[in-house]
Point group: none
DNA sequence: TGTTAAAATTGGTCAGGCAACTAGATTACT
DNA sequence: AGTAATCTAGTTGCCTGACCAATTTTAACA
């Protein structure tokens, strides 16, 4: 005998029901906060007994998908699915302080994990800076490349959570810190040269895997941003 | 043979039943491969209906604790290191890795800046944990207090940016890490006790401003969460 | 002894019932 | 009018008893 494989292992009914309800939720048929049909209604709709529905709901409740309230009904739980946050009204100091810590971690992990492609991507941002300085191109581009450097650095950590956090930090266009730095850089040729120089130094340290130096350079870099802001 | 104990109050019946059976398994009353009493027997022993027993067994089966075979019985599963829910293990690792770094910073800053109110707020979350353990209240509350501890700790840094980052990390209800931890804590009394104990230790270290110890305890705490997930 | 068939056991599902609870409408009171 | 207490319809929580389907055990038989 060849195929003794259990071909279609029958799913238990409560599992099928749980899957179906879960699919309905994931496909936005029911959104967070929505009330599911009553147990009796579900039973009638799916042509099963209320007992089976309850077994399925118990599972979904344990899995934190729904919230079953006695005497009321079952509600789809709220689920936050990304690591975005806002920094609108937070102070410049706070933002810089956090960057100091986060980028320190990023540098450390980037040194451990950066791929050849990561390095190339980071290098490209520095090349971008160089070009915009040389050709006196639009300051917007300069600033974009500057931010891209830090983003690409974050990507080199290979940690999506960290990448998302970093991006959130860097994408606060409206934040006074960025506005201000943008202006400073706009006005000062020297500031642009300086920033490029610092980026190049950090990248060089990462390439040689000199963690201590890389972290120190990053620290100085951010310290410098801070001074730029307060001067 | 020692029989399972009757039921208390408050938490939903099927949850209590699942807890009891799980505890019986974790305390080696039933070892991997062992056959549990029949549903009818469990119902009679626990003085509950078979329907409630089945809801509990459904949960335990989904959580990969037992294996329910039709016409045969329920068997305790081998405790292996595979997760039952299809989930990129990388995602969990990444979240834990980031928490490790972020919470380390949080502890450091909290020690420097926590106000009397901050400390009180953190203490309150521990008191909440204590109460829910004592009164066998709904596990949702326990989990909420557990998260609140880390949130209040973040608030003690007085850095809004950091607070928001921390919140974004802790509010991932749908993330497999939280789902899984929620379930573990739900079933295991010991896990709850352990968590409270660790939180108390961290708070104590912060109060005495013992930075080194606090950071180490936090590290162990998160390491422990990690083990809980992978065990 | 080995095979087969019947019986007992066990989980799977169902229908229905009452109690406990919640939210919303209604009523009573100030 | 505004507020508090009360009622009511609807929902979940839990239980009971029954029957079905898969599996194991037992018994009968060749």
């Amino acid at each position: 005998m060849k195929s003794l494989e259990p071909i279609g292992k029958k799913e238990k009914l409560y599992v099928k029901i749980a899957q179906q309800i879960n699919n309905a939720i994931e496909s936005d048929m029911y959104k967070p906060g929505d009330k599911l049909p009553t147990e009796r209604e579900l039973a009638s709709q799916l042509n099963v007994s209320r007992a089976s529905i309850r077994e399925a709901l118990a599972v979904l409740e344990i899995m934190n998908v729904i919230d079953v309230k006695v005497g009321d009904g079952s509600y789809v739980k709220q689920r936050t699915s990304n690591f975005q946050f806002e920094t609108k009204d937070s102070s410049v100091f706070e933002l810089i302080e956090v960057r100091m810590y986060i980028e320190s971690v990023i540098v450390k992990l980037a040194i451990e994990r950066a791929t050849e492609q990561n390095i190339k991507a980071i290098e490209a941002t520095n090349e971008g800076l160089r070009q915009t300085i040389k050709n006196q191109e639009r300051i917007d581009d300069f600033f974009r490349y500057g931010v891209a450097f830090h983003k690409k650095l974050a990507e080199a950590t290979q940690n999506d959570v960290l990448i998302q956090i970093a991006n959130s930090l860097f994408e606060q266009d409206a934040h006074p810190l960025w506005r201000h730095l943008n202006m400073k850089v706009l006005l000062s040729y020297e500031a642009r040269e300086h920033q490029l120089h610092e980026h190049e130094g950090i990248l060089a340290a990462i390439k040689t895997k000199d963690q201590k130096k890389a972290e120190e350079l990053m620290k100085h870099h951010i310290e410098h941003l801070k001074n730029m802001f307060y001067e």
